[in-house]
Subunit: 199 residues, 2 copies
């Protein structure tokens, strides 16, 4: 009994130590970088808008102008991209909070597993958004002659450049998210003090 | 020492028992269903082709025909969809083999964690493919008036129906993959005999 009482405070002490282990510090830094990458992608894409005045005809010497606007809202894939990256940013921000202050909310040792599952779902969401936006951007850049869809990047260069920047930033975030999820899963393997001490 | 020698065979015996636990049987069945869903999506999309003869003009009473073919290869998003679902199918098939016969290839208890990480990466791949194909299909079905991309499903109805079937089947596979990955992660939490025995 005396040995049992001696072991328990040590286990609690260990679990607070674990949160300050180097691997968890790395995870926190990775989450912050991933947050900034996906947040940047969200903001750049959400503000992506280009208005252009094009001469469509000339009557005599009077040019007839048409004002065209390319907005991210006009393409459903880009709307999904903004939602997916916005949610990935929120997830990483929330997880940073949970990693730092969430140790008291543990339930049967499932906290780390729940974080890993949520990470995996965020990877799925971000990857879906990136896939959709990437191929839609490819279509805008090159067009598709078979479907007679003309490229639009020759007309809206700035719109395409901003979109490309957002997609690249988002892919950096996605790669970091995959790495973070792998670390989250790897964390579960370590023989934690909780499993060694009798419950 | 005698206690140590007695514990080790028990741990080995337990780990073979774990492979026959109900949760692992469920996982195997889910993997097989996910395999069939993604394999069906791969095959249906890879065989998706529609040839149509359209009257483009009439000279006198002689119709001038044009033969148009809609192929999945013409859209990069659908090519990626086929690759992603094909790889997801292979992954699930391989993991079924590993779950049944792979117990001897364990390395420091990391086998289950590696399976979970590979599952997560497959989720990312399949989700990317599904996102790309879904929004390209949406474009084919509805068009995009802002970019002046006309819908093509009014001309190639069968092509679109087959594509929609493949995408639905692929989403069933993706949902199962997310569930499988969550179970793979959950499996790591259980206090396994390997962590309790001294290494």
């Amino acid at each position: 009994m005396a040995l049992d009482n001696g072991a328990k405070p040590e286990a609690v002490h260990d679990s607070t130590l674990v949160s300050k282990a180097p691997s968890n510090q790395v995870l926190l830094v990775l989450r912050l970088v991933a947050f900034f990458a996906t947040a940047a992608a969200t903001i750049v894409m959400a503000l992506n808008k280009e208005t252009k005045t094009i001469v469509v005809a000339t009557i005599g010497s009077t040019p007839i102008n048409a004002t065209l606007t390319a907005k991210f809202q006009d393409t459903p894939a880009f709307v999904f991209f903004v939602i997916a990256n916005g949610m990935a940013s929120l997830h990483n921000l929330l997880m940073v909070v949970v990693e730092i202050w969430g140790h008291k909310f543990d339930y049967k040792g499932l906290r780390l597993a729940m974080i890993a599952v949520l990470d995996m779902m965020t990877v799925a969401l971000a990857s879906g958004g990136d896939g959709a936006a990437t191929f839609m951007a490819e279509l805008g850049k090159k067009g598709n002659s078979h479907a007679r869809w003309n490229k639009i990047c020759d007309k809206f260069g700035t719109f395409c450049d901003h979109g490309a920047g957002a997609i690249i930033s988002s892919f950096v975030g996605l790669l970091l998210l995959v790495l973070i999820t792998a670390l989250s899963i790897g964390r579960l393997v370590k023989p934690r003090p909780a499993t060694l001490s009798p419950v």
